[in-house]
Amino acid sequence: MILVNDNLLDEIEENNRIIEEADRTLEQINRLTKLMDEWVGEK
C-alpha cells in the first residue's frame, strides 16, 4: 500500500499527540491547584 500523503496524516497524528500532552499538563495543573488550595486551607 502506497500512502502518498503519509506526511500530512503523520502531521495530524503528531499534532494530536501534542494536544493530548497539553491535556495531561492541564490535568496536572488542575491537580496541583487543588493541592495548593488544601495547603492554604481553601478546601
Binding site: L8, R31, T33
Partner: protein
C-alpha cells in the same frame, strides 16, 4: 509577479521560515489543491462585479488560510509552552518533595522524601497528594508551614492560571489547525477518488475497444471459414475435373495406340478443351480465394495484436494503477477517519479542561469564547488600529460632518447605557451591548436592525456569552413579532421580479411563512436557504433599476423577514453550539452553514447599503429644503451611518458611544 503567485511564494516561505522541520515535499503533493485555492483567490473584484459572494468567499479563504499559515507556529508554540510548564511543574514538585524530606517527613519505606526516587512528574504529584492528605489533619507543623507561605502559593497559582490559559488557547488553535489539515487531507483523498473514477472510465473505454476488436475478429473468422469452405469446394471441383481430364487423356492415348497414332479422337477433343478452360477458371477462383484468405488472416492477426497490446499494456497498467490507487484511498480513508475521531475526542476533552480549570481557579479561565473572538477578529485588528488613528486625527480637527455624526450618535445613545472599562474584551463589550439593548425601546431597536446596528448584532451574537445571546435573540424575536405578515398576492408580485425562473415564488413564501407565522430558519434546509439567497442575488442585480416603491416593497414583503430570521438562526446556532465543539459540528453541516452564513452576510450588506442610500436621500432632501429656505426635518432618530459596518468591531463602536 502576479499577486496569487506572490502570495503562494510568500506563504510557502513564511511556512518554511517558521518551522524548518515542516516537510516541504507535502506542498508539492498538494500543489493542485493549492493551485485551485489560488485560482479562487485570483478573482479580481471590480466595482462592476463586486458582490457579497465574492467578498465572502475571499474572507472565508482568508480565515482558513490564516489558520493554516499559523498552524505550524501554533504547534511549535504549544510545544514550547508545554516544555516550559512541564519543567516548571517538575521543578516545583522536586522542591516540595525535597523540602518535605528536609522537614523529616518519611515515605512508606521510612526514608525521607526525595524527588530523585520518583521518575515521572505524575508520580511526583501523586506523592505530593499522598503526603498532603496524610499530614494535613495529623501534622500541625505541616499545616502551619503552608499557611506561612500563602502569598507565595497564591502567586504560584496565579502563574499556573496564566500558563493554563495560554495552553488552552494554543491548544484550541492547534485543534483548529488539525481540522484544516483534515480538510486538506479529505480534499486530497477526494482528488484521488476522482483520479480512480477516471481510471475506471478509461478501463471501461479500453475494454469496449477490446470487445469491438474481438467482435471484428469474430466477424473475420466467419469470413475466413466461408472463404475456406469455398476454397475447399473449388479444390474438390478442380480435383474432380482434373481426374476427368486425366481419364480423357488416358482414353485418347489408348485409342491413339490402337490407331497407331494416326487418328485422333475428334469426338472428345472439344470436350477436353472446355474442361481445360473450366479448370483454369477454377484455378483462378482458388487463387483469388487464397488471396482473400491471406487478407483475412492479416486482419485477424492485427486484431490479435491490438487486443494483446490493449490487454497486456493499457489495461494491465490501468488495472495496476487503479488497484494501487484504491488501496491508497482505502488506507488513507481509514486512517483519516481514525484521526478525525481522535481529534473529535480532543475537542470534547478541551471543553472539559476548560470546565475543570474554571472550577479549579474559581474564576473564568480565558479560554473558549474569547479565543473564538480573537480568531474572528484577527484580520480586523489592522483595521481597528487604522481606524483609531483616523479617529484621533479627526478628534483634533472636527469637521462639520463629524459634528453632525456626533449629534446623531448622541441622539441614538441611551442615557442608561452602561460604561465599559477601556480594557474590556469583546465578550464584555458584546454583553454590555445586549444589556444596553434590553433597556432600549422596541422602536429604537427596530431602527438599529434597519441600520448600522444589524452588523453589530451579528458580531454580538458571535461574541456574547450564552445567556446574553439568548437575551439578544428574545429582543430580535420581539421586533419580528411586530412585523405585519405580507399579503400573499402582493408577496408573489414582489418576489417574481427577483426570483430566477427555476424558483417558484410560492416556494419562497413557504420558506418564510407557515400557518400565518414566520418560520424559524433552523427548520430550513440548504435548498430553501439557497432559494432565499437567489432572491437576494436577483434583487442585488436589479437594484439600480428599481423604483423607490419597489425597494420598499421588497423590504416590507421579503427582506425584513429574512434579515431577522437569519440573525435569529445565527444566534440559536451559536447559543447552544459554541466554541470548538461548534467548529467540530460545523464540519458535518458545512454546506448548510456556508449557505446560512452567506445569506446572513448578504443581509448585512443589504442593510448597510440600504441605510446608506436612505441617509443620503434624506440629506439631499434637507439640502434642497435649506436652499428653498424651508424648515429642515429632524431625522436624528435614524441611527448614524459610518460606512462599511463590517469593517468595524464592537469595541471601537462602544468606545465612541455609538452603541
Amino acid at each position: 509577479m502576479p499577486q496569487s503567485e506572490y502570495r503562494k511564494e510568500n506563504r510557502e516561505n513564511n511556512r518554511t521560515d517558521r518551522n524548518n522541520s515542516y516537510d516541504n515535499s507535502r506542498k508539492n503533493q498538494y500543489r493542485d489543491v493549492d493551485k485551485k485555492e489560488e485560482e479562487t483567490k485570483k478573482e479580481v473584484v471590480t466595482p462592476q462585479n463586486r458582490d457579497i459572494t465574492v467578498e465572502l468567499k475571499s474572507n472565508t479563504a482568508k480565515t482558513k488560510s490564516l489558520i493554516k499559515e499559523k498552524g505550524p507556529v501554533t504547534i511549535a508554540s504549544l510545544k514550547i509552552s508545554l516544555a516550559e510548564v512541564n519543567n516548571m511543574l517538575v521543578e516545583f514538585y522536586d522542591a516540595q518533595l525535597n523540602a518535605f524530606g528536609a522537614q523529616g517527613l518519611k515515605d512508606k519505606d521510612g526514608n525521607p522524601y526525595n524527588a530523585a526516587n520518583y521518575s515521572t512528574p505524575e508520580e511526583k504529584l501523586t506523592a505530593l497528594e499522598a503526603i498532603t492528605h496524610y499530614n494535613l489533619e495529623r501534622n500541625a507543623e505541616f499545616t502551619s508551614a503552608h499557611k506561612e507561605r500563602i502569598e507565595e502559593i497564591k502567586n504560584k497559582k496565579a502563574l499556573l492560571k496564566e500558563k493554563a490559559e495560554k495552553i488552552l488557547n494554543t491548544q484550541k488553535e492547534a485543534i483548529e489547525y488539525n481540522f484544516e489539515l483534515i480538510k486538506e487531507a479529505r480534499e486530497y483523498i477526494h482528488k484521488k477518488e476522482l483520479e480512480s473514477a477516471e481510471i475506471n472510465t478509461k478501463k471501461t473505454e479500453t475494454r469496449a475497444k477490446v470487445d469491438a476488436l474481438n467482435n471484428d475478429k469474430a466477424s473475420y473468422e466467419t469470413q475466413k471459414a466461408d472463404i475456406q469452405s469455398k476454397l475447399d469446394k473449388l479444390n474438390a471441383e478442380r480435383k474432380e475435373l482434373q481426374e476427368k481430364i486425366n481419364e480423357i487423356r488416358e482414353k485418347e492415348l489408348n485409342q491413339g495406340n490402337a490407331n497407331n497414332g494416326k487418328q485422333r479422337n475428334n469426338q472428345n477433343a472439344g470436350y477436353y478443351t472446355a474442361m481445360s478452360q473450366q479448370l483454369r477458371g477454377l484455378s483462378d477462383q482458388i487463387t483469388e480465394q487464397e488471396r482473400n484468405l491471406t487478407t483475412i488472416n492479416e486482419k485477424i492477426s492485427i486484431c490479435d495484436h491490438d487486443i494483446a497490446e490493449l490487454e497486456n499494456g493499457v489495461l494491465k497498467s490501468l488495472d495496476e494503477k487503479g488497484r494501487a490507487l484504491e488501496s491508497e484511498i482505502e488506507g488513507n480513508n481509514k486512517r483519516l477517519k481514525e484521526l478525525e475521531t481522535s481529534t473529535g475526542k480532543l475537542v470534547s476533552k478541551h471543553d472539559k479542561d476548560i470546565d475543570t480549570l474554571n472550577d479549579a481557579f474559581k474564576e473564568k479561565v480565558k479560554g473558549l469564547v474569547e479565543d473564538d473572538i480573537k480568531l474572528n477578529y484577527s484580520d480586523k485588528k489592522a483595521d481597528e488600529a487604522k481606524e483609531k488613528e483616523e479617529l484621533e486625527a479627526k478628534s483634533e480637527t472636527p469637521s462639520n460632518d463629524d459634528k453632525t455624526q456626533a449629534n446623531n450618535s448622541t441622539a441614538t445613545t441611551t442615557s442608561t447605557n452602561m460604561p465599559v472599562p477601556s480594557d474590556a474584551s469583546n465578550l464584555e463589550y458584546a454583553n454590555t451591548l445586549v444589556d444596553n439593548l434590553k433597556r432600549t425601546s422596541a422602536e429604537k431597536i427596530r431602527w438599529m436592525i434597519n441600520g448600522e446596528g444589524y452588523s453589530d448584532m451579528i458580531d454580538a451574537m458571535d461574541a456574547a456569552d450564552v445567556l446574553h445571546k439568548k437575551d439578544l435573540m428574545a429582543i430580535i424575536e420581539n421586533v419580528q413579532n411586530d412585523f405585519e405578515l405580507p399579503d400573499y398576492n402582493e408577496f408573489l408580485d414582489c418576489i417574481k421580479d427577483f426570483a430566477p425562473k427555476k424558483i417558484n415564488p410560492d416556494d419562497v413564501y413557504d420558506c418564510l411563512f407557515n400557518g400565518g407565522k414566520i418560520n424559524n430558519f433552523n427548520s430550513l434546509n440548504k435548498k430553501q436557504i439557497d432559494m432565499l439567497q437567489y432572491v437576494m442575488d436577483g434583487y442585488l442585480k436589479a437594484k439600480l433599476k428599481l423604483s423607490g416603491d419597489q425597494l420598499e416593497s421588497f423590504e416590507k414583503n421579503f427582506a425584513q423577514f429574512v434579515k431577522t430570521g437569519a440573525l435569529l438562526q445565527r444566534g440559536s446556532r451559536l447559543a447552544f453550539n459554541n466554541g470548538i465543539r461548534g467548529i467540530f459540528n460545523n464540519i458535518f453541516n458545512r454546506s448548510l452553514n456556508a449557505s446560512r452564513n452567506r445569506l446572513l452576510y448578504t443581509m448585512s450588506d443589504y442593510t448597510a447599503a440600504r441605510f446608506k442610500d436612505l441617509n443620503a436621500t434624506l440629506k439631499r432632501k434637507d439640502e434642497f429644503k435649506k436652499d428653498l429656505g424651508k424648515k429642515v426635518e429632524d431625522y436624528s432618530e435614524i441611527p448614524p451611518t459610518r460606512g462599511d459596518v463590517r469593517k468595524r468591531d464592537l469595541k471601537s463602536k462602544v468606545d465612541r458611544g455609538i452603541l
